[in-house]
Subunit: 507 residues, 2 copies
């Protein structure tokens, strides 16, 4: 653990605030923001100019110090938690007078590695464009103070969307509230991670070691883009993750397909039959018990699903799909069920390098997404039980000749590590309060998603720390996250400031 | 067409021979061979020292000239047929006084490319060993004239087995017969190919252009090794060959398996179900009509199958197989049926490089072996009909977005070229004569195989030229053909001389 010397000495002028009506009047926030927009962008560009790949230890610490300093300037008491060479956690605490509730704010300040040659502007040389590149945007200087700003302008840089965008939103909201004399209604805990894109290897350890500093009533998880419909959203859960690789064996050496074809078993064909047995033509997983542990959505979640904007037809058209699984079941519904997906298949080679052989083995790599109620190990047990039910003996290492001679059907199973899903009930009082605050900023456009399809280790917050967690994205849905030309649309940053100001002053 | 100048002028002292009883007394042949063994090996080593990869045009022509000269020295009228840059055909003709029958002799003098670093002795530096390398053989000089020779010695060099071995066998037989004053009973036509290992691209053209010079009563096809049981064999057919690559499509771009898993169709899973529908758990092909055109073996073939040495149990043990297809149906029986074999599978990646995606496509490469009666195009039509029966639309090019939107199930099918099987009935009079002659050399050990499992364009001889063809292998079964350390066991060369002498003097 380490703390930047001197920062603690900064006085926390903003930490104690006068009482005022909650939630904040957004007109005041927007007026302040319009007046200070050039400074907000300049500060954000300075942050984006610091390279932030988790493995670049020196740069990642510069990011952490930079962010801690910005927090301290706003009265936040900060700490940098450090474990060995791991990127630091920027931790902060900012109490509010008389507040009985504490909100945690999570974001990550590291970004995906870059392939600089594929970027239009250099990834760590933040560049403002007059529109998205796809829409013909051209570079322009950062605005001078007072200059009119088009909300469709976009700032291009690595992590502009994923996931530094919430930082200027939060800082802007703190400043705007202070300027407006609006009271924050919750104590705040900040937990900013620096290795999310590198797999969050130390996240659990950091949380376990600082459990008492992380006691909050709810987590606001600032990550990801808004809804595919371009509308703002709150998301109440994520799917968990696990996986399994299955390898089926044929003869111990590659055989000539003429001399032995249709005498020696073909492992690719055997694997095809095994995989075919796992899922029907409609996409229903046939592994016994696969869906048994999945907690069904409650009334609030069902209502939210029913209210979602229709995106399936547009997605199908964009992706060139005539139909999707289970008779075009809606995407959002499917994300509330565990999934079994073949992410890769391999046996010998295809195309120009294919030879007339019977392969010695065939492998399928499968990933499994879990929903609330599913246990990673238990669902892998069920998949393995299914494999055994198809007549296979399961081994953990490459089988030797004796094992092969003893068993006609052998599968080598490699189980991946995994973690469970997380889902916060949408009808908890704190959930309702967060929804109301977000609607204050977003209006009726707000989309409420019971769960993302993707996975985050959110369970460490919801289960290990035992607090509800709601994901509150800011970035535009087309922010090119993880890709070249990542960008943030300014309208989304302005929304982020509104959203943070509303959350910080919610009832 | 081209002929080496001067060679025609050689007198053909051996072409006219005195009458004598047929078949030849092998004691005389063996005595002559024992006396001349050192010279036979020296001559063979000189031939093996000439590099013989088909693409090495200059070396391959040196081989052809060398072989033609050896034939001319024995009274054979030779021609070198040349088409552009293609390796020449060494053609030869040697009549026998009063013979009404003409036998054609096929072999190929080109060899597989080499990876010289993996050879114990250089591939084109023929080296005699005292046993196989696996049995601890060590190099030794070629024997001096009169020195005792162990038949277990092996000569290591590219093409020692595949397929130059029949050349010293044939030359030795001609010399031994001449020395013994034994009459050949057939006119002989020699057809030695120089690009078999490179795919026989010009074979059909050579045959069509020289059809009248290739009129024979039967072809002796000198290629391949003896039976896996190590016993000598005659083989009466080969399987034909074709193939098809099937690609199934998912979304037009790679999708995140969390965000779209179990909503977007997974092409790897679809392909697995398609492949699973083609063959049952026992190995029976389920494509309608797949077995319909296969000519069943006749009485002679069934008797030969029943008399085959049992090799299946040993093979299963060697290959680490607990069981083989169709309830352990014998290998030789399975080779008389067409086969459908998945030779490769691919979709995205497995192992350490696998990512959590839904692949855009999945491909299976399938090879199909045909038996007598099967037509390559017709059997591919049946496979495609099966694919359509599973609900797929077949396309020939990568489908565009519009095609994808219109059809939920699309397979891109790439049909490979192919050629039919060939099989010579074992109860033809000429077949019986060849069997009797081979048995004269091999004794009761001789194995009679209705068909190889592998494929050769034998149909060009049996169907295009309309003559029976019998494969008469000489090389040891463990000759490492196509691999490093290819070799010929001397006992097999001695057998080859006996076999050729018997065939050239058969009733």
């Amino acid at each position: 653990m380490n703390r930047p010397a001197g920062l603690l000495a900064l006085s926390a002028a903003l930490a104690v605030q006068p009482a005022a009506a909650a939630p904040v009047d957004l007109d005041a926030v927007r007026a302040w923001r319009a007046e200070h927009a050039a400074a907000i962008l300049e500060d954000f560009a300075a942050l984006l100019a610091i390279p932030n790949v988790a493995s670049d230890a020196e740069s990642i610490r510069r990011n952490a110090a930079h962010i801690a300093r910005a927090l301290e300037e706003r009265g936040v008491t900060t700490e940098l938690w450090i474990t060995g060479e791991a990127p630091p956690i920027v931790y902060g605490r900012l109490d509010a007078d008389g507040a009985e509730r504490t909100l945690g704010v999570y974001l990550h300040y590291d970004g995906q590695p870059v392939d600089a040659e594929r970027w239009t502007s250099p990834p760590w040389q933040p560049t403002l464009y007059t529109a998205s590149l796809e829409d013909g945007g051209v570079p322009r200087p950062l605005p001078r103070p007072g200059e009119a700003i088009d909300p469709e302008w976009r700032l291009y840089a690595r992590s502009a969307g994923d996931d530094k965008a919430p930082i200027p939103a939060l800082l802007g909201a703190l400043d705007a509230l202070a300027a407006a004399g609006a009271s924050r209604t919750s104590n705040l805990v900040f937990f900013f991670e620096g290795e999310e894109e590198a797999g969050s290897e130390h996240l659990q350890r950091y949380i376990e070691e600082h459990r008492e500093q992380l006691e909050v009533d709810a987590w606001i998880f600032c990550d990801g883009p808004v809804h595919q419909s371009r509308r703002p959203q709150l998301v109440f859960g994520v799917r968990g993750y696990t996986g399994i690789d299955l390898t089926v064996y044929g003869a111990a050496r590659t055989l000539h397909s003429g001399h032995y074809g249709n005498w020696a078993p073909n492992p690719a064909h055997r694997l095809a039959r095994l995989l075919a047995s796992m899922k029907d033509d409609d996409g229903r997983v046939l592994v016994a018990g696969f869906y048994d542990d999945a907690e069904p959505p409650g009334a609030a979640e069902r209502a939210a699903l029913a209210a979602l904007p229709p995106i399936d037809d547009g997605l199908r058209s964009e992706l060139g799909l005539a139909e999707t699984e289970l008779g075009n079941a809606p995407l959002a519904d499917r994300l509330l069920l565990p999934s079994l997906n073949i992410r890769g298949l391999a046996s010998a080679t295809v195309g120009e390098t294919a030879r007339n052989i019977i392969p010695t083995e065939a492998t399928a790599s499968i990933d499994i997404r879990l929903v609330k109620g599913d246990d990673p190990a238990r669902i892998l047990d069920r998949v393995e039980d299914h494999v055994r039910g198809e007549g296979y003996v399961i081994v953990r290492e490459e089988p030797d000749l004796e094992t092969r001679r003893a068993h006609p059907r052998i599968v080598r199973s490699i189980r991946r590590q995994g973690y469970p899903a997380a889902r916060t009930a949408m009808d908890l009082p704190i959930s309702r309060q967060i929804v109301a605050a977000a609607r204050h900023a977003a209006g009726d456009d707000l989309v409420l998603m019971p769960s993302l399809g993707g996975s985050l280790p959110l369970h460490l917050f919801t289960d290990l720390l035992g607090a509800p967690a709601v994901i509150a994205p800011i970035a535009n849905h087309d922010d090119n996250q993880h890709a070249p030309d990542e960008n943030l649309r300014l309208a989304n940053l302005w929304y982020g400031i509104d959203l943070m100001a509303s959350l910080l002053t919610m009832d």
